[in-house]
Amino acid sequence: MSDLRGVIVSHAAVAQALVSAVTAITGIEGVLTAVSNEGCGTEALGQRLREAVGGGPAVLFVDLPGGSCFTSSARYAKQGGADIAVVTGVNLAMLLDFVFHRDIAPADAARRAVDAGAKAIRVTAS
């Protein structure tokens, strides 16, 4: 199996809850790591990201397309040295797809995750 990892970066406990949900649904453990920005300045959040990503490769799944989680993730991807892609607007559907499709490059995995996540957002017929 691929060594591509997913790191979820969020406000409060969103990331941890998503990791728990993926494990509950798939039984897969050890692929996703949760990082919260709780109590973090830019420096501390960068350190948490370094610890979570390790040597890479990785896809960073960020909750919002802006804000401290996003700016720290984008900065880390640019400067970190490892092969890293960043996706924003993380949802459970994209993570469920990601954990089963990791034998590809981070950028490809990121695009695939975005497709899977977007398909899950819809208005259901009433």
Partner: protein, 157 residues
């Protein structure tokens, strides 16, 4: 209107600022005063991404901000001015007498700092600088979101 909020926040533009304060204040522009960010197009793109298109983002160095601040204060729209650290706040206040208040919104843990509030960690030197700022007539309070109490400088420095 005017600059409704002068804020020290080491995360600069983020959710608490854009949504937490931006929504209730109906903010039309955000001024980010930071010498490093003002000289990096890439950093500016990053911070701009966190802001809805209807809100203008202005980047300025301390020197530029000192010159432009009276114009922002005279702006008919509501704005927020952000700095990332206490030194920048002190430098700006020293150059522009119009700076009459600073909200300490988020200064987080790093080596040498101790916890003063859940969202405020300061070195003794930084605490002293905030007290000096207050002694010079600047209203310094700590408040992360609008619904929280504004904690007076004497209670956390």
């Amino acid at each position: 209107m005017t600059l409704a909020l002068y804020r020290i926040d080491d995360r600069l533009i983020h959710g608490q600022v854009v949504v937490g304060w931006g929504q209730p204040l109906d903010v039309a522009f955000i001024v980010l005063v930071d010498d490093e960010v003002s000289s990096s197009d890439w950093e500016q793109d990053l911070y701009r991404m966190g802001v809805p298109p209807q809100i203008e983002v202005v980047f300025a160095s301390v020197e530029q901000a000192a010159a432009l601040l009276p114009g922002w204060e005279a702006d008919r729209r509501v704005g927020i001015l952000l700095v990332g650290d206490i030194d920048t706040a002190v430098a700006l206040a020293a150059r522009v007498p119009q700076v009459k208040r600073f909200n300490v919104g988020g200064v987080h843990h790093r080596a040498g700092r101790t916890e003063r509030l859940r969202f405020v960690y300061l070195t003794d030197d930084e605490a002293a600088k905030l007290r000096q700022l207050a002694e010079r007539g600047v209203d310094v309070t700590a408040q992360d979101v609008p619904t929280a109490r504004a904690v007076p400088v004497g209670e956390f420095t």
